[in-house]
Amino acid sequence: VIEKQLEQSMHAALAGEPPLGFDPDDVVDRAARRHRQRRAFAVVAAMAGVVGLATATLLVAGGSDGAPTATAPDAVCETAPPGAHAPPEGFPGSDAIVARLRAAEPGLLAEHVPGTTFDPPEGVDMGAFDCPPFIAVSRYVSGGTGESLALQLTHRRDRLDLAGDPYADDLFHRLVGDKQAADGARIRVYREKSPLQPMLAVVRFGPDGMITEASVIAADARTITEDQLTALATDPELRFPLPR
């Protein structure tokens, strides 16, 4: 009897419920924006290695002609203007960086994640965004394992920026590793708190302001290891110079 009473009371108690306090479409847009942002962070990080050589070249060239190479303001701009559904696309020099990364990416993945083949997602598989400058790469593991690899490279303007940690305020992830690398970078490892979504991310915070994130979300079993993600996140080819 109490079961029936409880069931009826629960349904009756919802009579006159207020309207939803949010618009589901807005939430989806926000989630998509957050997702793109995080992926972009990871991509930028992975790309930093690929772009490393080009970056060094550009920096040397910039230094030699007296032009400032790091003139960007210290302030962090919004990732997207109010009302926009995505951050502005591209930043100065991003086309060339994306082209270099696109050429280098197969070799990088083969080197650091050997024996695994990847498929690009439908739509944009590699994109550059501004505010802050970042590049995102998204790949699915071939063969239906349900794994999704993201590389995100973000430039935080010439300073090691732990405040730019994409997971710092994320309640869903747990910091499981944090160490100082010989080159002055910090390497952090995050896992999803909930077992519902097996996820692993390695984030390198470079002394030059580059944040390189390599992450994998798996359906059930993850085949990509922490060591492989670390190798990607720390590969100097997955970095890029500060855009001028």
Partner: protein, 171 residues
């Protein structure tokens, strides 16, 4: 996320935002927190959507995530500091008579549910509001069917005792 996945997720969010909020309300007892919980749930679901939409029942998965979000929410220091004395954070105070009745019933129900430990409350909401089977409830909570049965039994016993006590006091 593929565009087709994104569209399916959008449809899912539109269709299930209200049902999920109802469950959230019965869990947390506050419409504003229920709104927050559902938004957090949808944002969390978004990242996993390509995977869960192909390999799981999205609603079941959403329910699990909502439960986790609610339990996380309860662990926040400011939540722990709140008094759990059955006081309602918000309710309908004006309007048609039936809304007053619903408000009274809601207050009574939330007071009753409020005395239960989180897991017992979750079991009762899943079993008697969502009408899930023992097995489905166990899967949603990540526990055994035996635990669901014992938690439901204890929860119902507490509610029964409370109701009897209320009846005695009013008669």
């Amino acid at each position: 996320m593929r565009r087709s996945d994104e569209n399916r997720f959008r449809e899912f969010a539109r269709e299930y935002a209200v049902p999920l909020r109802r469950s959230a309300f019965l869990l947390c007892g506050d419409w504003h927190t229920a709104d927050d919980l559902v938004q957090t749930t949808l944002i969390k679901l978004h990242d996993a959507w390509p995977r869960i939409s192909r390999r799981h029942q999205p609603v079941s998965y959403a329910r699990k995530v909502l439960l986790r979000c609610w339990l996380d929410e309860r662990r926040r220091p400011w939540r722990r500091a709140e008094r759990r004395d059955g006081e309602l954070p918000d309710d309908v105070t004006t309007g048609p008579a039936e809304l007053h009745d619903a408000a009274g019933l809601r207050a009574e129900l939330l007071q009753l549910l409020g005395v239960l430990p989180a897991r017992q409350r979750a079991v009762l909401v899943l079993r008697y509001f969502e009408a899930l089977s023992v097995g489905e409830t166990a899967a949603a909570l990540g526990c055994s069917e035996g635990t669901v049965k014992s938690q439901a039994s204890r929860g119902l016993a507490v509610l029964r005792a409370r109701l009897e006590s209320t009846v005695r006091e009013t008669s």
